[in-house]
Each structure stands twice: as structure tokens, then as C-alpha cells.
Symmetry: C2
Subunit: 338 residues, 2 copies
């Protein structure tokens, strides 16, 4: 029961100078492309997530309404559906899979949007977390094509602290000798579970845990029930090399790290013509509002709008926090109507 | 060149119902006990730290001046000097070492202070982080004896979020099969280094990393230089079972979890007669100011005084942040003079 399609990219040369042979982009669309081809929303995936894990924001009466818009969810390279360490044949399989940047991802997505659908203008790009990173890339790489962006709990460049958090999670995974430098025959489950437990402290805020959101909002019976059921559960079934591939993409995310901007981040931010609402969460531990505030200062057409919440990074998470989703959905509607 | 002494506790029964046989408390004193025995400061150690790693706050002209005060630093159980998994003979060695609470630690310290030195009144108890946890315990367990407390970047009870952060670090260590459930013959260095890398994101704030405090203030050449040199360096030489012993102590820290208070935290906080200044750091990621603010609301004689800093938990760390130490030292002087 495959609910997505594959776009053939052919041999796709990456920023790192290696080639993804027979590269494929898995994608799903919602709604109908109108004749003017001007009702397009692109909605990239988050770290480790697949398209169906983005669907909570789409629906009748919501901002992302398939009755009005043609919504495209492209799966990120490395997420197990698009070309990934886990589905690439030797010699480029597993730990030999090349480093892929967010720039590479968005370049591939642009080919999908333009070559397959003949789309020339995009009404909105939006996404959560690493989906937000890709959203900024869309704005900076295709400033004339992208009219609006709303990255939520994401950033244009991975901050040094965010990088360090990810190093911790990575080290936990790789501490498991079963990982075997990526040559595992069986999943390194101890390391994957440790990865999830490290993530647990970062994904939600101090206040979330203090008020027992895990029990009161998310339906777990105890803290340990939550740590195993939610956090170990989120990662232990994912492929370790895939996780590390996307982690590299995240750590090296930077809209200016390309020939267009030559590492000049203010220049890249300044080139984004799209009308933008940047929506960090007040208590996000790895995308703190300050990072977006600094970005907004360099963007000609951006508004910083902080979501006041104790859900931390998961304010815009996959359907977990109804109050925050309401705020997000209203902002998306406002931006789309403007 | 041993610079500390050992206090013999004999057979010391713990809260968990097990006995530390021939238990020993390693301690060091600074200055001279006066005839009235009323110039005493107790200054417990932090997580994994040993007495000499507390000394940065002691010195001529500082609040903790050995010319005026008799300062006692008791080493925490499990820190490798006092009775610990690493120095206890079988059958209670390594992973069989019993669970020790902060209550147990402070009870043992109280024996040292009263039985060895005949001290009946304590002018001040102060400590950083887990030293702060022990400080609160002193105030709640011996309310008539302790006149002043100044816990910095600590709390009276381990918060649920703090517990989760520690679970992540623990899982990283234990993901290393070389740990072998505590029966390692060689140190599980991969796990210990992962432990340090997980810690790296927590110990300092997002802003600290954004402004490159690792390079500008701490003298490292790059982020990776800091991650290996400082964070892996901080933990890879420590004994894994010792680290896990103290981690349990931390996670289960709670001044009310004893017969005196029966789990009633507001009651235990309310029983602290000492004049108190609670000094969290504004950007501490695992002891956020809110936790101390809630505590202060239950304490009859406490002032909340937040240190405004981007050093996070390391605001009061072992000598790393001169500006914050100045603020801390001034508060200690003020409290001692009151």
C-alpha cells in the first residue's frame, strides 16, 4: 500500500562532488494543481520524518487545505523513502553514502516542482525543524519563485549549540559497538534507544516535564513509560545510517554555504524576497527564538512571531500540541491571505 | 601526595537498607576552627568533582577566606575518594555498590562535623550543582544548626527534566557494550566519551556557544577541540560505576524523601530556618530559575537571586566564568555578614 510516488532524478551530483546514481525523490501531493499553477505549497519533511508524518497540518478548513491548494511533500534524502543509505546499492550503501546538504535536497525538490509539474511560482514553503531549514533554503535559492515562507522551529543555519546537541545524540548511537562504523548486520538497537533517550531531554522543555505533559497531555502512565514508549519508540525502528546521514545534513545546514552566497549568511538572508513569518517556540531548547531574531534582522520582509508555549521544540511537532497548532495554523492562513 | 584526610564512619546504614562497611569520608579543611567553634563553612562537592575541584572559590580576600573561616569540604560518596564503587572491596564493589542518597551523604557529613570537630553550629553551607543539592539537605535536615545556605545552580529535588537529561547521558555510557553492566575490566572509554559529549550541550547555554565562549573565553581553538579537550576530558578518566552511583544520587535527590518529611516537599522547604540566597543562572538548562523560584515560595527566609549570564550551568562552575564568580562571591560575603 504505497501512498507516495517516486520522481527519477537520474544521476544527481551533490555539493560534496559525489554522485547519487539513479537518485529518487519520494513525494506525495494533496489537492489539485490549478490551471494557473499558482496554488502551490511545498512542505518538506523533518528530521527522520516521512511524508505521512507531515500530514497532521493538512486538511479541510485548515490553512493547508487540499480543496484550495496543491500541496507537495517531498521526502528528504536519507529518510528511507527518497534515496538513502538504507536503499542505495553498493558501493554507495550504508556508511559510504555521500554527504547530502539541505541545498542538495532543495535543488532536487526544485527539479520535481519545475520539471514534473511545470510550476514556476510557489505560493508558500513551510516546514517544521529540518523542514524549516529546507524552507529557508527555498527562499534563498529561488527568491523570485517563492512568494511566502513560514519556517517553524527551524533556522537558516545550524547553530553551534544545536550542532553540539546532535553530537551528543550521535555519540550515544555510535557508542554501541554493534553500530560497527555503519557496517552493522543487525540494527544497533542499544545505540538507537540511547539516541532516543538523549533526544528526550531536548525535544520538550523543562516546564513541559515539570507540569507532567507526558502524562497529562500525551497519555503516558509515567516518565519511564514516556521515555521508552515515545522516545525510544521514535528512533529504534529507524535505520542508523539514515539517521546519521540526515544528522550530517542538519549539522551542515547553512543557506549561504554555496556558490550563490559564498558563506555570507547575512547576504543569503537578505536575498530572501519572500514574505516571511519566522515562528520559533519560546521554550525550544535547540532552536531558541534568539537565532530567528538575528535572522529576521537581515531579512527584508520577515516578521518574528514567537509561539508562547511550554512544548519546546514540539510546539509544532507532529500533531502533539493542539493550542500551538492553532496559533501556527492561524499564521499560515494570514500569510496565505496576504 | 595525599592532600586530604579520611573520617572513619564505621558501618554506615543507608536509606536503602544496605550497609556501607568501614565507610569513609574523605575531606579537607581550610583555615582554623576558632574557640567558639562558630566560624564553620561546609562546602560539599559537585557531580563527579573532588575537593580540590572546589577550591577555586576559597582564598584570601574572597568570601570563603581561610583567614576568617574554618571551611570543610566533604567529598561525596561515589566520587572516588570517599567510599565509592571503585574503592569498595567485594562483594559490594562496582555495580553492586548500594544506592546512596544525598540524605545519606549529609548524614555522614554531619557525623564528621559533630563527632570529629565537636561543631554545633554552622555559619554557612554552600555548593554548586549537586553541592547545592547537599546544601538544601543540610538546611532541611539540621534546621537549628545551619544558619545560612547559599546553593548555586542546584535544587532541593531533582526535577523531572533534569532526571531525563541524566537518563540520556547514562544511556550513552551504557550503550557501550564494554561497560558490561558494570563488570568492565577496562574502562568503557567509548561510553565515557559519549557521556561527555552528551553533557556538552547541557552544561553551557545556547548563547555561550553562539558567541563562541569555548574559543573566546576558554581558550580552545575550535568547537571540536572543546568537545574532546574539555568534555571528553572531564569524564573519560572517571570511573563509570562511580559516575553512575553519583548519577543515581542526583536523580533521586529530594530533601523530603525521608522520615522527617515523608515526601512532603513544601513541608521540608518550609522547615529550613537558615537565611538563604538561592542563586540559579538565568540560562542554566537543567536547573532553570523557575525551579528555585518555586522553592523560594515555600521557604520562610529565602531570597531568589538569579545570576544574569550566558554561561548556563557553568556560571558557578569550577572557576570558568570570572564575572559570575564575582557576583557569587559578593552574595556569599553579604550573606556571611548578615
Amino acid at each position: 500500500m504505497v501512498d507516495y510516488k517516486m520522481f527519477e532524478l537520474g544521476d544527481f551530483v551533490l555539493q560534496c562532488g559525489k554522485t547519487l546514481r539513479d537518485a529518487k525523490l519520494a513525494y506525495k501531493t494533496y489537492g489539485t494543481l490549478n490551471d494557473a499553477k499558482d496554488n502551490v505549497i511545498v512542505y518538506p519533511t523533518w528530521y527522520s520524518g516521512q511524508h505521512y508524518e507531515n500530514e497532521w497540518l493538512i486538511g479541510e478548513g485548515k490553512a493547508l487545505d487540499p480543496a484550495k491548494y496543491f500541496i507537495i511533500i517531498p521526502n528528504m534524502f536519507g529518510n528511507g523513502l527518497s534515496t538513502s543509505p538504507s536503499n542505495t546499492p553498493a558501493p554507495w550503501n550504508g556508511p559510504r553514502f555521500p554527504n547530502v546538504t539541505a541545498y542538495d535536497n532543495v535543488k532536487a525538490q526544485h527539479k520535481l516542482v519545475t520539471e514534473l509539474f511545470g510550476i514556476e511560482t510557489i505560493k508558500l514553503v513551510t516546514g517544521w525543524s529540518m523542514g524549516g531549514l529546507q524552507t529557508y533554503h527555498w527562499g534563498a535559492m529561488y527568491p523570485d519563485m517563492v512568494k511566502r515562507i513560514l519556517p517553524f522551529q527551524g533556522s537558516a543555519k545550524c547553530s553551534r549549540h544545536n550542532y553540539v546537541f546532535l553530537e551528543g545524540a550521535k555519540a550515544a548511537l555510535q557508542a554501541d559497538a554493534a553500530y560497527d562504523y555503519g557496517w552493522y548486520k543487525e540494527p544497533p538497537t542499544r545505540g538507537l534507544r540511547a539516541f532516543g533517550r538523549v533526544y528526550a531531554g531536548w525535544g520538550l522543555s523543562q516546564t513541559f516535564y515539570r507540569v507532567e505533559g507526558d502524562i497529562k497531555h500525551m497519555g503516558y502512565a509515567s516518565l519511564e513509560d514516556f521515555l521508552v514508549g515515545f522516545w525510544e519508540g521514535l528512533f529504534y525502528t529507524r535505520d542508523a545510517n539514515n539517521l546519521l546521514c540526515m544528522l550530517w545534513t542538519w549539522q551542515n545546514g547553512d543557506i549561504s554555504n554555496n556558490e550563490m552566497y559564498g558563506g555570507d549568511l547575512p547576504k543569503a538572508l537578505g536575498a530572501i524576497k519572500a514574505k516571511a513569518i519566522l515562528m520559533p517556540a519560546s521554550t525550544d531548547l535547540y532552536f531558541p527564538p534568539e537565532d530567528n531574531e538575528i535572522e529576521a534582522g537581515h531579512m527584508p520582509n520577515a516578521e518574528l512571531r514567537v509561539i508562547d508555549t511550554y512544548w519546546g521544540h514540539f510546539a509544532g511537532g507532529p500533531g502533539t500540541s493542539p493550542d500551538d497548532i492553532e496559533v501556527l495554523d492561524a499564521a499560515l492562513k494570514e500569510l496565505l491571505a496576504s
